[in-house]
């Protein structure tokens, strides 16, 4: 970014650049666990991306008896259809990540737009949008997700939209708070006075300031989205042709894996899901930690300590 306005605003512009350069360093120094998170997530995402090429067997290829025990050829055994577990885990990760990221994208889009608009325009727009957000926050997500998925039908597109539609509230609130504080800054008002359009201001001044927070929020939302997908699949509402990690767990559960002694069909996929959520939480949490004192957005009252309870609520915290 090389916009340099010859006015007091210029100071804050460079500040932004410094914020971002120092962010990574600060994040890592404050919470070294973030490194663990980043490494984990990278490995997992790579595995998911490369699944079609690195998977040892075919996704629908029956290579042995249902629930066959682990062997040198199949280190994690086979599932109830005689399919290699390692292959399933790789493809499952791919699908789970797809759903997680897609749902998050939907959620960030909605939440981001609403939060941005509410914070930037303020006044009536703000009140209306926040009222709507408040209602959505209060309605319990998991039951609503279940109901909508049940009525609408289990397809991967539906699941993505259903999850996304219920997760945006956290992003909206966080973004609104942040945009509000940024808006008060002098250089924004100067730019307005100079006649800059809303788009320009938002694009050039507001967004860069809120981007770090948005990223932190996004990462945390991914964790919740993946959890929600696992939950929906487990309750039988997942798309039967899209075999996510949640579906792998559900298949094993449906076919009495535990009673058959086939722990390999149930334990590994869960561990993988937990690792994804864990790494996202570590990264997101570290980012937030780093941004916290700088942006002084933590004293926002009662709801400031909310984490993202995975038992069924949207992410919202600073």
């Amino acid at each position: 970014m090389s916009v340099v306005l010859h006015e007091p605003g210029a100071v804050e512009e460079t500040e932004v650049r410094q914020v971002r350069r120092g962010l990574v360093r600060r994040t890592l120094s404050r919470r070294p666990s973030a490194i663990v998170g980043i490494v984990l997530l990278t490995v997992i995402v790579l595995m998911g991306l490369l699944a079609p090429w690195i998977a040892p067997y075919g996704l629908h290829e029956q290579v042995g008896q249902p629930f066959e025990a682990p062997s040198p050829a199949h280190p994690l055994g086979l599932d109830d259809g005689g399919i290699d577990m390692v292959t399933l885990l790789m493809w499952g990760t791919r699908i789970s990540l797809l759903v997680g990221f897609a749902a998050t994208a939907v959620s960030i889009l909605i939440g981001g737009t609403i939060g941005l608009s509410a914070g930037y325009f303020g006044g009536k727009v703000d009140t209306v949008l926040m009222r709507i957000t408040d209602y959505f926050i209060v309605i319990p997500d998991v039951p609503l997700m279940i109901v909508v998925a049940a009525i609408w039908g289990p397809s991967i597109g539906h699941i993505i939209i259903v999850i996304g539609i219920l997760l945006w509230t956290g992003t909206a609130r966080v973004l609104r708070a942040q945009v509000k504080s940024v808006r008060e800054r002098v250089y924004i008002q100067r730019a307005r006075a100079l006649g800059a359009s809303h788009w320009r201001i938002v694009g050039r001044h507001v967004l860069p300031q809120v981007a770090p927070l948005l990223i932190a929020n996004t990462v945390l939302t991914v964790a919740v989205a993946i959890f929600d997908e696992t939950a929906l699949s487990f309750l039988g509402l997942g798309d039967p042709s899209a075999i996510s990690l949640g579906k792998v767990i559900e298949n094993a559960f449906e076919r009495a894996a535990i009673s058959s002694g086939a722990w390999w069909a149930i334990v590994p996929p869960g561990i993988l899901v937990a690792l994804i959520i864990l790494s996202c939480s570590l990264i997101g949490g570290a980012l937030e930690d780093a941004l916290n004192p700088r942006l002084r957005a933590s004293h926002l009252g009662a709801r400031s300590f909310r984490l993202r309870p995975l038992v069924g609520r949207s992410p919202e915290s600073v």
Partner: protein, 320 residues
């Protein structure tokens, strides 16, 4: 804003939210594909007359607007409709289900609150040490595990030692009070533990966060400058002030836990409201789904309200 004003404002908000939820509920279900009648009339030789009669009985022949008004009227009388599955009032089905869920959820929450607070405090106090790393690590790991998967893991571990399903051994004929209590205890242990462990992770993180914030405050610095011992600071200032937001948080999460119990109850065949939702989904028992969803929403709204009022009581500076 004065206390009374705030109180009224929050109550009005709660009422309006419930109303919004009711409307969403209605819209969702009446717009559902797979009409209610199709489900009802899957009887052999159902004549068009039978189907018409059923339609009339459930008011499905009226316009959407009329149905909505009818729905509201029925709600006002506490009539949540008739379950498709057993043709009994939804309200009585739900009442039984809630009765079963609450003890299990309370037990798990209690476990999580006690241990979570303890671990959260330790983790914040011992900032920068190995203890913090350990406690934080455990909390994060537990928090990251999918609830139902954790339940399944516990089943694998405890299979054979503890019952893995149901609320009690129904075949116990005329058990003594102690036998009955023992039986209930053996059955409630695993589901409550599952819920408790997941919440424990979350509460630890919350308490830790709150403690860290408080510990960073100016008045704590002052106390240290004055030479007060760390534990005294903890006791006198930090704990007390950190517990304010924690209390309201817990009140808030209580409302959501009932919803989250769906996963635990499905895994452990616990006959509570979570499983009622799951079964209703499986059987597409729309009246039950509608009723359960409404009950869950109202409970969440209620606990939100409680949390808001609690927080106001504890810290009147907050006016939103």
């Amino acid at each position: 804003m004065r206390g009374a004003d705030y109180f009224i404002k929050r109550v009005v908000f709660a009422v309006v939210t419930v109303f919004v939820a009711i409307t969403i509920n209605f819209a969702l279900f009446r717009l559902a594909p797979g009409s209610a009648v199709a489900n009802l009339s899957r009887v052999p030789h159902a004549t068009p007359e039978t189907r018409a009669a059923l339609k009339k009985e459930f008011g499905l022949d009226k316009s959407r607007g009329e149905q909505y008004v009818l729905y509201l009227k029925q709600l006002a009388h506490g009539n949540l409709g008739i379950s498709f599955a057993n043709q009994q009032p939804v309200s009585s089905n739900l009442r039984t289900a809630l009765k079963n869920t609450i003890p299990m959820v309370l037990l798990g929450t209690l476990f999580a609150i006690i241990f979570g607070t303890f671990t959260g405090v330790i983790s914040a106090w011992r900032r920068g040490t190995a203890t913090e790393g350990m406690t934080l690590g455990t909390a994060l790991t537990l928090y990251a595990m999918p609830t139902h998967w954790l339940g399944l893991m516990l089943i694998i571990v405890f299979a054979g030692t503890l019952p893995t399903g149901g609320m009690s051994d129904e075949f116990l004929i005329n058990p003594s009070f102690t036998e009955h209590m023992q039986d209930l205890a053996r059955h409630i242990f695993l589901p409550a533990l599952t819920l408790g462990l997941v919440l424990f992770g979350e509460y630890t993180l919350i308490v830790r966060s709150a403690m860290l914030e408080t510990l960073g405050e100016d008045y704590i610095l002052t106390a240290r400058a004055k030479g007060l011992k760390p534990w005294a600071i903890m006791r006198k200032h930090a704990l007390r002030n950190a517990l304010l937001p924690v209390t309201t948080l817990i009140a808030l999460s209580l409302g959501y836990i009932v919803a989250g119990a769906i996963l635990v109850e499905t895994v452990f065949s616990w006959p509570g409201i979570g499983r009622a939702v799951y079964d209703a989904v499986l059987q597409r028992d729309y009246p039950m789904l509608q009723g359960a969803f409404l009950v869950l929403t109202v409970s969440v709204v209620f606990f939100n309200l409680v949390a808001d009022l609690l927080y106001f009581k504890l810290d009147p500076r907050i006016t939103e």
